[in-house]
Amino acid sequence: MEHNSNSREHLVFTLGEEEYAIDILKVQEIRGFEPPTRIANAPPFILGVINLRGAIVPITDLRVKFAIGEPSYGEFTVVIILNLAGRVVGAVVDGVSDVVALTDNIVQATPDFGAAVDTAYIVGLAPMDEHMLILVDIEKLMTGREMELVADAAASAA
């Protein structure tokens, strides 16, 4: 960013105890969880597909993907519907808490965690009141090879 004072809106959601922030422009809508149709031989974090007003949309569970928190599905479970370069994908999270404006100058670089967490998708960390927000490049994450959501990624995984 050229201007450090650039401020952009982020959607904050929780996975277990952790709070994540993603660019709100990638979010199409937020809706309640409905049981998806399971897809054979899909990885466990792909729960299946749902009918989103006539479109068939895959649903992932980020809690399963990152092994954070206990995946439970109830009437308060939230699905963030993301629109990533024309593809619509749903992500199940524990809850959506806030929309915040983050300026780039408060974002700090991600410390090196070693091999435990792939920091490639993490843009940085930002303090927010008492909490710490983890900024995620959701597009990079969802279209990445290991999510197996996109055809070529799946083909190379196979």
Binding site: T37, I39, A40, V49, N51, I56
Partner: protein, 741 residues
């Protein structure tokens, strides 16, 4: 202003193709003994439109060829030349070459000049044979850039930005015809330009072409006021000053009158000319016979437009000739005013007629599909509403329930209408066959009459395109192998003209297309012999049905020798594969000596599938109904294992591989043994197998959706659909199962 016409090429090609199709079908339908003048006119118009477009877009080779064609057609439609079978042949061949040229130009290549020259000389030979053309008229025909045989005059008023480069603009307009600048003045911050334009194009064509160059509110196209002297009839030498003094309205001529007047000197120096309103009132083409020596001088060459065939010698001659004509011409001009009124009203009538024809619009198929998707959603929403409303007390919610009923009706009607947009009549496929049959019958020396039945039967557009090749193959087959030679037919006591019938009709949720011939029928012995030769395994005492199906095996041709008609290219196996890929099937009925019938059965549409809902492990899957042969509950004796692992089911005398759906999709079945569940016998290609499911849930038409849009291909599934309760169900890919088996 640079105008890149190339972006409009696509539209031109598409239109040219359509014109060629109608050109061909009209020619085929022509009764040579008593040709219908309407048809002749329509044929002429098709050729004319192609020529106009080709000229506009700079495909001069096409324009040149159509020009000759058009001349001949023009003479035919005016009854000055009788149409003969030879002419129809040459016209059809010209149509083929034009279609070839369209195809080549579409690829941006240059057509092979030889093939063009062949038909061109054939056309010219016809012209000569007609004997009507004065010998030197050939030159006029060779002069290809002249796009008009009898142009019309228009007045064009332009309101331009003064910064516009008028030279470029005029050059682009000059592509449409011969342009003369009449007046130019500045008014406020606008530049007003008045032009006289002389063009062969119709009013609408001109407007369309102009719209390429200018915004539509910037130009105004008018028929010149009645009584204004048609330029060619006016003396160049005696009138310019008076014309100029008449000001804007009558100012056909300014300082460059010669261009306008000489532009198309296509007027016949006959006294009768006085009877025809010169140029301007001309609603139809060809009031005037081309007079070649004058045509030669088309001085548009002076304008630097690419017409440059100017011959100084000819100009002088022409000018002399014109001076001599002036007296007559002026007399003509006097009558022109009167006549043009009549002509104008005639033109009005014609335009009203045109409007009646223009009741179709071109729409991108993806738009229609999108509409179909939205309607599909609406149907689901509606059924969900209906479902939740079913629990309400009808007494308390009368109005709501009535509304929901109404919604259901409306939704269904809407869905049907939208589906019908994708449907096009079979006649679009059938229309090519008269030609195919005619050519082939001639080539094979057989007499064949083609009957088309049920051309109005409608079929999904997606199928129509894919159906052409298989159907052509079946027709060729019937002509080549089915219908006997004339001698054989006579010897067998049959009428010497063979009968080939193409029929289409709807049967339940299917469209059935039949190719029937009254030929020799299939030869059982020969097919069996050939099958043995090819090493196919044959059962004893096969039924005729089974024997006929053998011809769909790969590499099967019973033709005694390979002709250039059949026995090469796609085989019957490809026909069957194509039909099956559309979700259809082929069957044959045949009786020796009486003929055979090839029957293609297709579902009504691609977007909708007749599905069987099956349950496995509590999940719902959909099997395409057309793949299902039978479903049964096997007894323990029918189920065997091979090597302790692979399972087979014995059905009658066959052991079919048994696939468990729950193993394919990876879930826990409710039935622990096949005997507790249901076994579906399914067929894919020529492979049969058995599929073990928990239960049958019902049969339903489903809208097919793809999974790749937001996700990716799923192994073993061909797509997904949305059930009445709004949930997604996956459609099992039967051919993938077959590969697994």
């Amino acid at each position: 202003m640079e105008v890149d016409l190339s972006k409009f090429f696509g539209a031109f090609f598409e239109e040219a193709e359509e014109h060629l199709v109608s050109f061909e079908s009209l020619l085929m339908g022509l009764d040579l003994n008593a040709p219908d003048s309407e048809d002749l006119n329509a044929i002429f118009r098709a050729a004319h439109s192609i020529k106009g477009g080709a000229g506009t877009f700079g495909f001069n080779d096409m324009a040149a060829l159509t020009h000759i064609l058009e001349n001949l057609l023009d003479r035919v439609r005016k009854g000055r030349m009788a149409i003969t079978p030879e002419m129809v042949d040459v016209f059809l061949r010209t149509g083929d070459v034009l279609a070839y040229m369209v195809a080549v130009h579409r690829d941006g290549a240059t057509p092979d000049p030889e093939s063009i020259a062949t038909v061109q000389s054939a056309l010219e030979a016809l012209e000569r044979a007609a004997g009507e053309t004065p010998p030197d008229a050939q030159e006029a025909h060779a002069y290809t850039s002249t796009r008009a045989t009898s142009p019309k005059d228009w007045r064009l008023n332009l309101r331009l930005d003064p910064t516009t480069d008028t030279r470029d603009l005029l050059a682009s307009i000059a592509n449409l015809g011969v342009v003369t600048e009449l007046a130019r003045q500045h008014e406020g911050d606008l530049l007003l330009l008045q032009l006289a334009i002389r063009s062969l194009d119709s009013d609408e064509d001109l407007r369309e072409s102009l719209a390429f160059v200018l915004p539509s509110d910037r130009f105004e196209l008018q028929i010149p006021p009645p009584g204004s002297p048609p330029p060619a009839a006016v003396s160049v030498t005696s009138l310019p000053t008076s014309a100029a003094s008449e000001g804007k309205d009558f100012g056909f001529f300014d300082d460059t009158p010669a261009q306008a007047t000489e532009a198309f000197g296509f007027f016949e120096p006959l006294p009768s000319q006085a009877d025809t309103p010169a140029g301007m009132g001309d609603t139809d083409y060809g009031f005037f016979e081309p007079l070649p020596s004058i045509a030669q001088d088309a001085p548009s060459g002076r304008e630097g437009v690419d017409y440059g065939y100017l011959d100084a010698e000819a100009v002088k001659q022409a000018e002399a000739a014109r001076l001599a004509e002036q007296a007559e011409a002026q007399a003509a001009a006097a009558k022109a005013g009167e006549a043009s009124k009549l002509a104008e009203s005639a033109q009005h009538n014609r335009r009203a007629g045109d409007k009646g024809e223009a009741t179709t619009i071109r729409v991108d198929v993806t738009k229609v599909d999108q509409l179909l998707n939205f309607v599909g959603e609406l149907v689901i929403t509606q059924s969900m509403l209906a479902q939740s409303a079913s629990g309400l007390d009808p007494l308390l919610h009368t109005r709501l329930l009535a509304g929901i009923d109404q919604l259901q009706r409306n939704t269904r009607e809407l869905q049907e209408s939208v589906m019908s947009i994708r449907m096009i009549p079979m006649s679009t496929v059938f229309s090519r066959f008269p030609r195919v049959v005619r050519d082939l019958a001639t080539k094979l020396g057989k007499k064949v009459e083609l009957r088309l039945v049920g051309e109005q039967t409608e079929l999904d557009k997606g199928f129509v395109e894919k159906l052409v090749d298989p159907l052509t193959h079946l027709v060729r087959n019937s002509l080549d192998h089915g219908i006997e030679s004339t001698e054989t037919r006579v010897a067998r006591g049959k009428p010497e003209t063979g009968m080939l019938t193409l029929a289409a009709f709807q049967q339940g949720g299917n469209v059935v297309i039949e190719v029937r011939d009254d030929g020799a029928g299939l030869n059982r012995e020969r097919i069996l012999a050939k099958a043995r030769e090819n090493g196919l395994s044959l059962a004893e005492g096969m039924t005729d049905q089974d024997v006929w199906m053998l011809i769909f095996e790969a590499g099967f041709s019973t033709a005694a020798e390979v002709t250039d008609v059949s026995g090469r290219g796609v085989g019957m196996d490809v026909v069957r594969k194509n039909i099956q890929s559309m979700g259809g099937s082929v069957e044959i009925e045949s009786m020796a000596g009486f003929g055979s019938t090839m029957r293609i059965r297709l579902p009504l549409t691609l977007a909708i599938l007749d599905g069987m809902l099956v349950g496995s492990g509590g999940e719902t899957y959909i099997l395409p109904l057309n793949a299902i042969r039978q479903s049964l509950q096997p007894v323990a004796e029918q189920c065997r294992t091979v090597n302790g692992r692979g399972r087979v089911v014995q059905v009658r005398n066959d052991y079919l591989p048994l696939i468990a759906l729950h193993e394919v999709v990876g879930c826990t079945p409710k039935s622990s043994e096949p005997t507790e569940g249901i076994v579906m016998l399914i067929e894919s290609g020529n492979q049969q197998m058995a599929l073990w499911v928990d239960e049958l849930l019902g049969q339903q038409q489903v809208v097919v959706k793809n999974l790749e849009a937001n996700y990716r291909r799923v192994k073993g599934m061909s797509g997904a659909t949305i059930l009445g309760d709004g949930r997604v169900a996956l459609i099992v890919d039967v051919s993938a199962l077959a590969r697994k088996a």
